[in-house]
Symmetry: C2
Subunit: 285 residues, 2 copies
């Protein structure tokens, strides 16, 4: 027991938070910012920190059950194969499913298209006490939509401010937003797509469209850069997650969630009943 948390020379939130200097095209996707341990050390530490995350999440859930309206929302963005699904399985999978609100956002349905683009997002927000997870999100509206010109530039270009305002409102109403942009290299993506084409147990994860999107890599890098430049705010900062090493991205996001929960300074909710009276009733029951 007692894996070395001090392998983090800089706390994950500080090491990973976007700065004005963050440059998507120059990112080392194999790096492990702030963390000096290797894969083995990272995997061992994940088990231990997963238990910490789980304990904190139980407190969040307990408070939610007692009327606390605060929640945590993890927003995952990244190109295909960047490991968003793995984060859900291996990071969110560490906590009680009762307290998890998971939503993934694909191509909008006809009904969704008939509404404002934030409609389906607002419908999927976590309730008080819940840990929400968005696998893709409203940011698709300034990523895939921008890259493919699905709406005119005059339209998508207004969305950055709109998203900032939406997230401000959300943060003000008690949701701690943890935004993670996961980045793999072109080479690593090719290796992961190749695996999906070679293993029958992975075919289902492959979509020919993934290759079409891959061909638009520079346009996506530009779109991600704009997202980081325009929507990393004090109330909802972006974190850049180098994702070539899966063990690192999982450990890093676990740390970001622990940090978010710790900042809520949760305690066990006080009883809303008279303990002694209930003990007496129970003794007789």
């Amino acid at each position: 027991m007692g894996q070395d948390v001090s392998l983090w020379t800089t706390p994950a939130p500080d090491a990973l938070r976007v700065t004005p200097e963050t440059t998507v095209a120059a990112l080392d996707t194999r790096s492990t910012p702030g963390f000096t341990g290797d894969k083995k050390a990272g995997e061992l530490l994940l088990v231990e920190r997963g238990a910490v995350l789980s304990a904190l999440q139980e407190k969040l859930y307990a408070n939610g059950r007692s009327g606390d309206t605060r929640s945590v929302l993890l927003v995952l963005q990244g190109m295909d194969t960047s490991g968003k699904g793995g984060i859900v399985r291996h990071v969110i999978g560490q906590v009680d499913p009762q307290g998890v609100d998971h939503a993934s956002f694909g191509v909008p349905t006809a009904e969704e298209k008939a509404h404002h683009y934030l409609w389906r997002i607002k419908n999927a927000l976590p309730k008080g006490g819940q840990m929400g997870v968005f696998d893709r999100s409203h940011y698709e509206e300034v990523l895939v939509v921008r890259v493919h010109n699905l709406v005119p530039a005059e339209v998508w270009s207004t969305r950055y401010d709109e998203i900032n305002a939406f997230e401000k409102e959300l943060a003000d109403s008690g949701t701690t937003i943890v935004k993670c942009a996961m980045f793999v290299s072109l080479d690593e993506q090719k290796a992961r797509l190749t695996e999906r084409l070679e293993r029958p147990d992975k075919y289902w994860k492959f979509n020919p469209n993934d290759i079409d999107e891959r061909l638009l890599w520079p346009a996506y890098q530009e779109a991600y850069q704009a997202v980081l430049d325009k929507t990393s705010t004090e109330h909802a900062p972006w974190h850049v997650i180098p994702a070539d090493r899966k063990w690192f991205s999982r450990l890093a996001i676990t740390e970001l969630l622990i940090d978010a929960l710790e900042r809520l300074q949760l305690d066990w909710p006080p009883p809303d009943f008279d303990i002694e009276h209930e003990k007496q009733r129970l003794a007789r029951a």
Copy 2:
């Protein structure tokens, strides 16, 4: 590795399925039907079988993503403290949260009351490829509703047939329903409620109403007996889970879910694209 599955002398589905002789009032809630191992053996086996469950669930999810509309629905019923929440955490917590649709049914809201009692149930059914979990369910309509006379007997008495018909339709449309009724003894419930009144980290789980319900134990036993007698059908049989030993109820329900998934005879979905063509495209991309 290699925990002894043969500690099950009778497979869990057979050992636990309700029979015409099942008598709620005579149940030994500390028993471990079909299983000869002790707590230590059961806990070790759970880890191993949890991995089997997780692998099967991934196949269900993969097929769902490929258009398969089949799903699995775990229905949990039981008195307060019978361990329903623990099943969600420790059994469902073994699988990928992406593939879990969790719903818990408390006192109906005003909106829910304005609809047929199956409305909120139908809204929460698992989609294709998902593993649904109901923490309490439509059975509350013939349990709490019956015990408290919330509607006249002429009304609730028609619901058994209505529920059977609903579940038949659900099963015919591809949902494998796994119904588990969890039973603790009066003594065990008192011990668990006492713990909730003594530990500040457990207060949030206590509700004074739990004691009121406890005082109606015989009426609930009668109501549960009627549920088992009238709604254990070929398409959706009930399983009786003795729940004084948490390790046993968790292992037992893991086995029931494994059995349900195995009966679907899932394979990895075939590719819906031309593998060689995609490999060539990827090589050039």
